[in-house]
C-alpha cells in the first residue's frame, strides 16, 4: 500500500477507536445541557461494557447486548436522577461514588467473562459509498455501529437546536426558574435527559466491549469514561463538536501507538495528552474575550455564527439542583417548584 492508503487506514482505525467515545460524549452532552452532571460515566461505561458483553454472549445476540448495556447505563443514570434531581443532593458526590462503585461492580460481576471469546458487531461496508475515493475507505467500510454513531450525532444536533423538546432541554439547563415559570416541568425534562444520556453512555460501553476491543477483561474500558466527560467540556457542550473532539482524540491516540516506532524520541504520552493540551489552548482563546473583541468588529451576520461556533460556556445551571436545596425546612426558595409531586 502507498503512503496515502496507510494514512487512510490509520485514520479509519482512529475513527473506530473514537466510536465508544462519540456515544458516551454525545450522551453526556445531552445530560449536561439539561443542567445535570452525570459524573458516573467512567463506572457506568465499564459496567455497561461488561453487562453488554455478558448479555450478548449468553443470548448470542449482539443487539440484546446493546439493549442490556443501554439499560444498565440508564439505570445508573436513574440513581443520579433520583439523588441529584429529585432529592436535590450533590450530583458531583453521587456521580463520583457511582463511578467507583460501578467500576468495582464490573470486576466482581464480570469475573466469569474475562477473556471469553464472544460475539462482535459484524463488519458491513455500504455498497456504493464505500467506493468513493478517500471518504469511502474512511467512513463507509466499517460496521453498523459506526454508521449509527454518525446518525446519532446528526440527530442529537437536530434535536438540540431544531426541536421543541431540545430547546426545552437547553432552557432548563440555563434558567430552570424561568423555564418553570413558563410552565415547563423542570424535573421531568432533566430526568428524561439524564436517562437518555445514561443509556447512550451505556451504549458507548458496549461499543467498546462488542466492537472496538471486543471481549471483556478486568477494567476493560478504563479511562474512557473520564475522557468522555472531558470531551464534553472541551466540545463546548455541543454534540457535533464533542464528536469531533472524540475523533481528534481517536486520531491522536492511535498516532501515539504508531509514534512509538516512527518517532521513538518522543514519548508516547505526548500524543495521548496532546488532544487535551490542544483543547485547553482553544478554550483559553475562546474565553479570553478575544473573540468578543474580534466579533465587535464584524457585522452581526458574521459575528453571531463566529461566537456560536466557538462558544464553550457551560449551561448556567449545570449541576445546580432545582429548586435550590432547601436548608431551612420552612423557607422554600423563590421560584419553588410547585409542580413536582
Amino acid at each position: 500500500m502507498d503512503d496515502g492508503g496507510e494514512l487512510l487506514s490509520l485514520l479509519a482505525t482512529a475513527l473506530a477507536a473514537s466510536t465508544p467515545l462519540v456515544y458516551a460524549a454525545v450522551g453526556e452532552t445531552l445530560t449536561e445541557r439539561a443542567g445535570v452532571i452525570n459524573l458516573s460515566a467512567e463506572g457506568s461505561m465499564m459496567l455497561s461494557a461488561m453487562v453488554g458483553f455478558a448479555a450478548a454472549l449468553t443470548t448470542g445476540s449482539v443487539l440484546a447486548g446493546f439493549a442490556a448495556a443501554a439499560a444498565t447505563g440508564a439505570l445508573v443514570a436513574l440513581v443520579v436522577a433520583i439523588g441529584g434531581i429529585h432529592l436535590r443532593r450533590s450530583q458531583i458526590a453521587i456521580g463520583f461514588v457511582l463511578a467507583m462503585l460501578c467500576a468495582d461492580l464490573s470486576s466482581v460481576l464480570g469475573g466469569p467473562f474475562v477473556r471469553v471469546p464472544g460475539p462482535t458487531v459484524p463488519a458491513m461496508s455500504i455498497p456504493v459509498l464505500r467506493d468513493v475515493p478517500i471518504l469511502g475507505p474512511l467512513f463507509f467500510r466499517s460496521d453498523p455501529l459506526v454508521y449509527a454513531s454518525y446518525l446519532l450525532v446528526a440527530c442529537a444536533w437536530v434535536f438540540l437546536y431544531r426541536t421543541r423538546a431540545g430547546l426545552l432541554v437547553r432552557a432548563v439547563g440555563e434558567q430552570p426558574a424561568a423555564a418553570h415559570a413558563r410552565g415547563a416541568h423542570v424535573t421531568r425534562v432533566r430526568t428524561a435527559a439524564t436517562l437518555v444520556g445514561g443509556a447512550l453512555v451505556g451504549i458507548g460501553g458496549a461499543a467498546y466491549s462488542l466492537d472496538f476491543k471486543a471481549g471483556w477483561s478486568h477494567r476493560h474500558t478504563a479511562g474512557y469514561g473520564w475522557i468522555a466527560l472531558a470531551i464534553v467540556i472541551f466540545g463546548g457542550f455541543d454534540p457535533v463538536r464533542a464528536a469531533l473532539g472524540a475523533c481528534l482524540f481517536g486520531v491522536l491516540s492511535s498516532m501515539a501507538s504508531l509514534g512509538q516506532s516512527a518517532l521513538p524520541s518522543v514519548p508516547a504520552q505526548v500524543f495521548s495528552v496532546a488532544p487535551f493540551a490542544l483543547m485547553i489552548v482553544v478554550l483559553a482563546l475562546t474565553s479570553s474575550g478575544l473573540l468578543e473583541r474580534l466579533g465587535a468588529l464584524l457585522p452581526d451576520a458574521a459575528r453571531r455564527p463566529l461566537l456560536r461556533a466557538f462558544d464553550a460556556t457551560p449551561p448556567a445551571a449545570l449541576g445546580k439542583p432545582y429548586p435550590a436545596a432547601a436548608d431551612g425546612a420552612e423557607a422554600r426558595p423563590r421560584g419553588a417548584d410547585q409542580g413536582t409531586k
Binding site: 432552557a171 424561568a178 418553570h180 410552565g183 415547563a184 465587535a296
Partner: protein
C-alpha cells in the same frame, strides 16, 4: 378578564407575606399595586401566576373559581406575569427564548382557548422558527417595539427583554397582564413605548396590574390602586388620588424630602487626570475631574453607557487605560484593589444579589467577612453584637441569622449600606435606590448625605433624572460613547438633561467646554 382575589394568605416562616388580601381587578383597566418594600406585592403576583400556592383563600377568574397548581395553569387561564427579575434565557437568541416551552396550539392574539398545553401532541416536533419569527415581528410592529429575532438575549437591554416578554405573553393569548416593577431600569423612551402599549392593551379589554414604586408611573397609567402594607390591604383609591394620599396610605404618614444642603467642602477627594477607560465595546475619555470632599457627582445616561466603568475604575476594579487616578491626594493609578480600599474607596454595585451580597450567607456572616482583622477564628459573640448593631442602626427588617436572599429588595440595600466601612473618602454607588420604595429611597439618601456632611465624596449613577437633579452638585452625562464635562446642576433643567442623555452633549453650556473634545472640565 376579571380577577377576584378572596382572602388570600401566604406565610414564609414567621413572615406574613400576604395576609387576608382581597381585591378585584377589572377588565379594561389598569390596576396599580403599591406598597413599601416587602409589603407582599410580588408574592401576590406570584400567586396569581401559579408560582406560589396560597396557604388560604380563593381566586376567581371571570367569576369562576380556579386552582392554579403551576405556571402552566395560570397561562392556560389567560394570566401572564412579567416578573420583577427577568425570567428569560440570556444565552439563547431572542427567537429561541420566545419559543421556549411554547404550547403547540398558541396563536397570535389568540382568544381564550389558545392554550391547551399537553394536548395536540401530533403537531410539531420541530421548532416553528419561520412562523414564530413572523408572529414575533408582526406583534412587535403592532406595538412599535423593535426586535431582532437573531440577537442573543444577553445582549439586550433590560427594557428590550421586558418588551420581548410582554410580546410573548400576548402571543400566548394572555387576557390579564401582571407587571412587577416594569419601569425599573429602563430608559425614558422604552418607558414611553411600554406605556403606550399598555394603554392599547387596556383598550383591548385586558386586565392590567402594575406594580411600581414610582408614583409618576401610577399617576400616568392607573385607573385604580390598591395599597398593601405588611401583607394586608391598607386601602384602595380611585385615580387620580393625589400623591400625598398614596404616600400616606403606603407608609401611614406623610414623608418629607431629605434636606439637600450643600455639603461640598475643601480638599480634593478624587482626582482624575486625562483618564481613558473602557471595555471591549466602549472606549471613553475624561479630561479632568476633581471631586471635592463632601461633593456629590451624578452620572447620567442610558444604562450601559459607561457609568459603571467609571465607577469601577475609581473603585480600583478596572484598570484605567491611560491617565491618573488619585484618591485623597494619593496616586493610585495601576494599584490593586486593596490599595483603593485602604485609600478609602467604597463601591456599591447595582446587582445586589450577584455582586454586593453573597447569597446563602446571613447578615451576621457578612458582618464577620467584613471585619478588618478577623484573625483565624470567628468570634461569634462579638460578631453577633456587631450584626445586631448594624441591623438596628440601619433598621433592617431581618435577624442576624437571616440569609440575605430572603430579605426584600429594600432591606438588601440597607444591608449593603450597613456593610460599608464608616469613614470613607469616596463612595461609589450604582443605582443606589433601584427598586426601593419611596420611604426607603429617601432614607437611603439621608444616610448618604450624612456621610457627605462628614466629608465623603459621592459618585452615583442613576437612571432617575429626578434623583440626579435633586442630589447632585454636578453631573457627568454619558452618551453615545462619550462623557460630557461635569455640568453644575444649577445650569441644568430636567429637559436639558434629558436632551443631553439623548446625545446633545455639545450644546453650548455656561460652563466652558471645548466642543470637539470628548471631555473637559472645570471644577
Amino acid at each position: 378578564m376579571r380577577i377576584e382575589i378572596e382572602r388570600v394568605a401566604k406565610r414564609f416562616g414567621p413572615v406574613n407575606a400576604n395576609d387576608d388580601v382581597s381585591l378585584t381587578i377589572q377588565a379594561g383597566a389598569v390596576h396599580g399595586l403599591l406598597g413599601e418594600n416587602g409589603a407582599g406585592k410580588s408574592t401576590l403576583l406570584r400567586i396569581l401566576g401559579g408560582l406560589l400556592r396560597p396557604d388560604a383563600g380563593r381566586l376567581r377568574f371571570d367569576g369562576r373559581p380556579v386552582a392554579l397548581d403551576s405556571p402552566a395553569d395560570a397561562l392556560a387561564a389567560g394570566v401572564g406575569v412579567l416578573h420583577q427579575e427577568p425570567l428569560d434565557f440570556p444565552p439563547l437568541t431572542v427567537l429561541e427564548s420566545f419559543l421556549v416551552a411554547r404550547p403547540r396550539a398558541a396563536r397570535a392574539g389568540g382568544g381564550a382557548r389558545a392554550l391547551l398545553p399537553g394536548r395536540g401532541r401530533a403537531a410539531g416536533v420541530f421548532l416553528p422558527r419561520r412562523a414564530a419569527r413572523e408572529e414575533l415581528l408582526a406583534l412587535a410592529a403592532r406595538f412599535g417595539f423593535s426586535v431582532d429575532p437573531d440577537e442573543q438575549v444577553a445582549r439586550l437591554t433590560l427594557g428590550e427583554r421586558q418588551q420581548l416578554e410582554l410580546l410573548r405573553l400576548l402571543s400566548l393569548g394572555a387576557r390579564a397582564l401582571l407587571l412587577d416593577e416594569p419601569t425599573t431600569g429602563i430608559s425614558g423612551a422604552q418607558q414611553e413605548a411600554l406605556f403606550s402599549a399598555l394603554r392599547r392593551l387596556k383598550q383591548d379589554g385586558k386586565a392590567i396590574v402594575l406594580v411600581s414604586h414610582k408614583l409618576s408611573d401610577v399617576e400616568a397609567l392607573c385607573d385604580r390602586v390598591t395599597v398593601l402594607r405588611q401583607g394586608k390591604v391598607a386601602g384602595e383609591a380611585e385615580m387620580p388620588a393625589g400623591a400625598a394620599r398614596l404616600v400616606a396610605l403606603m407608609f401611614g404618614k406623610a414623608l418629607a424630602l431629605p434636606e439637600r444642603l450643600p455639603t461640598a467642602g475643601d480638599g480634593v477627594a478624587l482626582a482624575l487626570e486625562d483618564v481613558g477607560f473602557g471595555d471591549h465595546r466602549l472606549d471613553l475619555r475624561l479630561a479632568r475631574l476633581a471631586v471635592r470632599r463632601g461633593e456629590v457627582i451624578g452620572l447620567a445616561g442610558l444604562e450601559g453607557s459607561g457609568q459603571r466603568l467609571l465607577l469601577r475604575a475609581c473603585a480600583g476594579l478596572l484598570r484605567v487605560r491611560r491617565g491618573r487616578v488619585a484618591i485623597g491626594g494619593a496616586d493610585l493609578t495601576g494599584r490593586p484593589y486593596p490599595a483603593f480600599l485602604r485609600a478609602g474607596a467604597g463601591y456599591l454595585p447595582a446587582d445586589r444579589r450577584r455582586e454586593g451580597l453573597i447569597a446563602g450567607l446571613s447578615i451576621e456572616e457578612h458582618v464577620a467577612l467584613r471585619a478588618p482583622r478577623p484573625g483565624v477564628f470567628l468570634r461569634p459573640r462579638e460578631i453577633r453584637r456587631a450584626a445586631e448593631r448594624a441591623i438596628e442602626a440601619l433598621r433592617i427588617h431581618g435577624r442576624p441569622e437571616t440569609p440575605v436572599e430572603a430579605l426584600s429588595g429594600g432591606n438588601q440595600q440597607r444591608a449593603q449600606l450597613a456593610l460599608l466601612p464608616g469613614d470613607l473618602a469616596l463612595l461609589l454607588l450604582e443605582q443606589p435606590t433601584r427598586g426601593l420604595d419611596i420611604a426607603s429611597a429617601r432614607w437611603v439618601w439621608e444616610q448618604l448625605l450624612a456621610r457627605c456632611r462628614a466629608g465623603t465624596a459621592l459618585l452615583f449613577a442613576s437612571s432617575e433624572l429626578d434623583e440626579l437633579m435633586r442630589y447632585s452638585d454636578r453631573i457627568l452625562v454619558f452618551s453615545g460613547g462619550r462623557v460630557s464635562p461635569p455640568v453644575s446642576v444649577a445650569d441644568l433643567t430636567l429637559d436639558r438633561l434629558g436632551r443631553m442623555i439623548g446625545g446633545e452633549l455639545d450644546e453650548p453650556a455656561p460652563a466652558p467646554a471645548e466642543p470637539a473634545a470628548p471631555a473637559r472640565s472645570d471644577p
